[in-house]
Amino acid sequence: MEDLSQWLVQLRKGVVELLVLRLLALKGELHGYAIVKELNSIGRLVAGESTVYPVLKRLASDGLVTSRWVEGGAVEGGSGVEAGAGPPRKYYRISDLGSAFLTDATAEWDALVDSLNTLKGEGND
């Protein structure tokens, strides 16, 4: 079990990037807390704050996402997120570079899954 949990940690590290970019591509603009909540609601792949926030930092430094602070909290307005009442939030949005990366990474992922499934199918034969 110890080996499996270690493997899951490594897996999450690699997958969370993809998940975050996919989430942002689907939802448009999200802040950190919302991203963590969404990822934890997906399924078994739990991603804590210690995983998500560092990944967000790296994605931002690599230019795959952009960020902005919205003071006084935020509300969904006609033109997206706008300032409201509450604590300031840092919103993330996927960049063009991030979209291109997501497309390539998804293709690689699909190829990987196909390979795994192929091996599984052969094993069941």
């Binding site: 802040h31 926030y53 930092k57 790296r58």
Partner: protein, 358 residues
């Protein structure tokens, strides 16, 4: 501050301390984001910030993951932020020790006690107990605090170093290697430290010299008073010899002195006094305050000089044997005197020991 905000601020303070290696700008951004996250999570959980923080990852863990992603910390090999060079750390330590010595010596300077000729043992014991307790307490505080991450010392600042925590380990790095950290100009601080050390050394060096000078002034003053005591006695004999009447000599003298002068005058008048010779002059003592100890901080109230005189009586033929008289001349400084140690001299009392061969 409420208990909830206390818990939040404590968490964020710990996180900030662990994130020093990424620099102040990025660290502030992370802190603000985590603050926002925790505030919102607590609101969703019914406002219980403490419970929310309990479920949140430890600040050390979160900081370590962020440092790993930034490439400053490696999970296998530790920090990639280079440690400061050994000579820089050594120089920082030297400066810190020098500043600690400056502090202790300043306190010793202001607590300086001159114990005088007859030291008060109780005062000495109390003074040294306080000094050693102070020194021990300052060493304890200095060594306890010096190794805490984030603690700045004068030596570290002067050498451009910072003690930070990276992945739970403390290391000293150069400020220049921390991204976004402002390089503080150390020139002013270095000059200030050097001036403080020089000023203290000059104070400490001059202190015993000032005392010595003061004692030398006193001795010189005492010598002058001795000679003035001699002059008083000498002028007394001269006046008597030339025939000045007793009444004219006793104007500024005490009754004891007046009787001694009358006795001298009668010997002159009776023809017994042929000549005289001033013999030994001895400064008896300074009397300062209530005791006889010499204190450089007190002005003497009286000065006593013993003047010995040998009187040669008239005798018929043969060698004459002198009689010995000793005059105790007590000098007292007057407030109008503008010179330090100056006296208005007067014979306040006279002790006569007489050995004559009559």
């Amino acid at each position: 501050m409420t208990k909830e905000t206390d818990a939040l601020e404590q968490y964020l303070s710990k996180l900030e301390a662990e994130l020093e290696a990424i620099g102040p700008v990025e660290s502030a951004d992370v802190i603000a984001e985590i603050r926002s996250h925790l505030t919102e999570a607590a609101a969703d959980a019914g406002g219980d910030i403490e419970a929310t923080i309990e479920q949140f990852d430890d600040p050390e863990v979160l900081a370590a993951r962020i440092l790993e992603e930034r490439g400053i910390l490696s999970a296998g090999t530790g920090s990639t932020l280079p440690e400061a060079p050994g000579y820089a750390k050594a120089m920082a330590l030297v400066f810190d020790i020098a500043m600690w010595l400056v502090g202790v010596l300043f306190l010793l300077f202001f607590a300086y006690i001159d114990v005088g000729e007859k030291p008060n043992i109780t005062v000495i014991i109390i003074a040294w107990t306080l000094v050693t307790a102070l020194a021990a307490a300052s060493v304890w505080w200095w060594t306890k605090g010096r190794r805490r991450p984030g603690r700045r010392t004068a030596g570290l600042d002067i050498m451009g170093l910072r003690r930070i925590s990276i992945g739970g380990a403390t290391r000293i790095v150069r400020i220049a290697d921390i991204p976004g950290a402002k390089k503080v100009s150390n020139l002013g601080q270095t000059i200030g430290v050097a001036l403080a050390i020089l000023l203290l050394l000059s104070f400490v060096n001059s202190m015993p010299r000032q005392n010595k000078q003061m004692v030398a002034t006193w001795v010189e003053s005492a010598v002058q008073e001795s000679s003035t005591g001699t002059q008083i006695v000498s002028s007394l004999y001269r006046d008597v010899t030339i025939g000045v009447k007793p009444g004219e000599l006793t104007g500024a003298s005490t009754s004891q002195a007046r009787s001694a002068i009358k006795d001298l005058v009668s010997r002159r008048a009776s023809g017994k006094l042929e000549s005289y010779e001033i013999g030994k002059v001895e400064l008896a003592a300074w009397q300062s305050g209530k005791d006889r100890s010499i204190s450089p901080w007190a002005v003497p109230e009286t000065t006593t000089v013993f003047v010995t005189v040998e009187e040669f009586p008239k005798g018929a033929g043969g060698a004459t044997v002198p009689s010995h008289y000793t005059y105790e001349v007590i000098c007292k400084p007057e407030p109008e005197t503008k010179y330090s140690g100056g006296c208005v001299y007067l014979i306040k009392s006279v002790k006569i020991s007489r050995e004559d061969t009559d």
